[in-house]
């Protein structure tokens, strides 16, 4: 809804809405979200940045192909599985060199956002 806020003495017209625990704000040409419970920027539910030993579903969708079996070695950047959502295929890749440790999905599964799909055991670092 439209809100008129007084901040440090000046008025700001913004649009804001609380949906679940997320506050959505539109102000000065930009939309942003804030976690309403902590007041911090809304938490990212997917492994967006950094290396990770788990592959999470980056969106709700269907698993349509799994390239590796448990125990298979994988290289960083290697395709591990393919998901389909909104009629497009998305290839999910390994972040690191290692071995497939756990596969917790099967071809044909409809998975939710953030579901653990595959766990990797990182290759031992050479010292």
């Amino acid at each position: 809804m439209d809100l008129k806020l007084k901040i440090d003495g000046s008025d700001h017209l913004v649009q804001a809405q609380l949906i679940g625990t997320t506050l959505w704000v539109h102000s000065k040409g930009r939309t942003f979200t804030v976690d309403a419970t902590s007041g911090r920027r809304a938490r990212r539910k997917t492994g967006g940045a950094g290396t990770s030993d788990v592959i999470l579903a980056p969106m709700p969708g269907k698993v349509i192909k799994i390239f590796s079996k448990i125990g298979d070695p994988v290289k960083a950047g290697q395709a591990v599985l393919v998901m389909e959502a909104m009629k497009m295929e998305y290839t999910l890749k390994s972040d690191l060199d290692g071995i497939i440790d756990v596969i917790s999905c099967a071809v044909g599964d409809q998975v939710t956002l953030g579901k653990h799909l595959v766990k990797l055991m990182p290759a031992a670092k050479e010292s």
């Binding site: 804001a16 809405q17 942003f32």
Partner: protein, 493 residues
């Protein structure tokens, strides 16, 4: 001449809304043929009548020929409008619609077979002397054969669904290492999106522009064109921004490409709206494909030409539309369309689904919004992520870009993330502003996820203060946190 009382719509989302509006203006009732997942949508609320034709999965609803025809018959329609995507370019569908005694709003099944199938279309183009991109269009679809052909054409090579469009079933192969996997993936996508796994290969032009011509065959079979659109801004072969007319064509090129477009459409005995797509590189043009349907980006042509293509399609199907030279004029001003996708631009464009909160499109002169969902509707993972189109018109291209930037900044979509921040970056990019972008524009400048800007101190204060006001209004105390009328519907952001 057959006058329609009622038209069935074999589609969903914003295009279903577009067709319903054209029907309303012509005094025709509409029957929306929808899946179980599309009850919360504008088209559902707007249609005169609605008939559920199956579950969410497209193969059992929007791609199910029998279910659509039975729905149209049960709804008492005399004609079916297929929109775009789904069954719109399926010749079998057009044929079965006719066999059921209904009228297919689009070209005949023969035209779809000869022009819509990319392989046949290229044979026709060869005969007409229209230049083609080197490629492989054979029947042998074995992976080993396709890899061998790709090697012969020379990488980069593009693999495409023979029966489709819109980026699905289309992959770019850069080297022999990835060829097998990408070809298989394209075949799977082609099968799931269009019901046929047939693909073909084409040399990838690395600095080409995507230019297309809107053609239209009237009830008498006379084909003319309504000038060009440029759609070079594409990601994964899916268009993002389109404009009319192209900033890149000389008068000479515009004339010869327009003639080629009309020539091939005439050869295919074209009736209704169609699009002839070309690639343009170093002032040489090559035929890409013919889309035998209404195009997603048709509004930009409507804006600069002052026409209504959907009404023209319906009138042509009724047998009463004839081109009138008195009313055909040159394009005026400039129009741009941005496709709004439900995706997170800060996470590499992964789809964003869930319950829609507040939606606001800022009204004003020369602005047009085509959208399929409102507050309270749910964006599901089953279909295309495009949830709306924003179209602007202004006197010239720089002004149209300025207007689009303003409009996007003032548009609000809450509940799902959208590509609006990404569109704003693209529209501000020097190469786009100059009009020199090619189909590699996105991969060259926007291959990485956008970096999400940190909240400024002011934004933090705004959020804090907004939260307090909202909670006061809802009568919810600070400590109870999550309670809100929305929370029970909440699915994840």
């Amino acid at each position: 001449m057959t006058k329609f009382n009622r038209i069935a719509i074999a589609n969903r989302g914003e295009v279903a809304v577009r067709i319903i509006k054209a029907c309303e203006e012509l005094g025709i009732e509409s029957v929306l043929l929808h899946s179980e997942a599309d009850i919360e949508s504008r088209a559902y609320r707007m249609a005169t009548k609605t008939i559920c034709i199956g579950p969410a999965a497209t193969a059992e609803s929007y791609l199910n020929i029998k279910a659509n025809i039975n729905g149209a018959l049960a709804g008492g329609a005399q004609a079916i409008h297929p929109g775009f995507g789904f069954l719109s370019e399926n010749a079998d569908f057009a044929e079965e619609v006719a066999q059921a005694g209904l009228i297919f709003i689009g070209p005949s099944s023969e035209t779809i077979r000869s022009l819509g199938d990319k392989v046949h279309c290229k044979d026709l183009a060869k005969k007409a002397g229209i230049p083609l991109v080197p490629g492989y269009q054979g029947e042998d679809q074995k992976i080993s054969k396709l890899i061998q052909k790709a090697e012969k054409i020379g990488y980069p090579v593009i693999v495409k669904a023979a029966a489709g469009g819109g980026g699905r079933g289309m992959k770019l192969i850069l080297n022999s290492q990835d060829a097998g996997e990408l070809i298989e993936s394209a075949q799977r996508e082609a099968l799931s999106a269009f019901g046929s796994s047939k693909v073909f290969l084409e040399k990838y032009l690395d600095r080409a522009k995507h230019i297309e011509f809107q053609v239209f065959g009237d009830s008498t079979g006379q084909v003319i064109h309504f000038f060009d659109r440029e759609c070079s801004v594409q990601r994964r072969h899916q268009k993002i921004i389109e404009e009319a007319t192209s900033p890149s064509l000389t008068d000479e090129l515009r004339r010869s490409m327009g003639e080629a477009a009309c020539a091939i459409a005439t050869m295919g005995r074209y009736k209704g709206a169609g699009t002839v797509e070309f690639l343009l590189q170093d002032n040489e043009f090559y035929l890409l494909e013919v889309n035998t349907r209404l195009q997603v980006e048709h509004p930009v042509t409507e804006e600069v030409m002052g026409i209504d293509l959907v009404k023209m399609q319906i009138l042509t199907a009724q047998g009463e539309y004839v081109h009138d030279p008195k009313h055909i004029r040159l394009p005026r001003g400039h129009s741009i369309e941005c496709r709004i996708y439900a995706e997170n631009p800060f996470l590499g464009g992964v789809p964003s689904t869930g319950l829609l909160g507040q939606i606001h499109w800022p009204e004003g002169p020369g602005r047009r919004y085509e959208y399929g969902f409102d507050q309270g509707d749910t964006i599901t993972p089953f279909y295309d992520p495009m949830i709306a189109k924003v179209i602007v018109w202004d006197e010239n291209r720089p002004r149209a870009i300025q207007k689009m930037l303003r409009v996007l900044k003032n548009s609000t979509v809450f509940g799902v993330h959208t590509n609006i921040p990404y569109l704003i970056e693209i529209l501000s990019h020097k190469e786009f502003v100059m009009g020199t972008m090619t189909t590699r524009f996105i991969e060259t400048y926007f291959s990485e996820s956008l970096k999400e800007p940190e909240l400024t101190d002011l934004e933090k204060k705004i959020a804090q203060s907004a939260l307090m006001q909202l909670r006061q209004q809802n009568g919810v105390s600070e400590s109870s946190g999550t309670a809100s009328p929305w929370s029970t519907f909440w699915r994840g952001v």
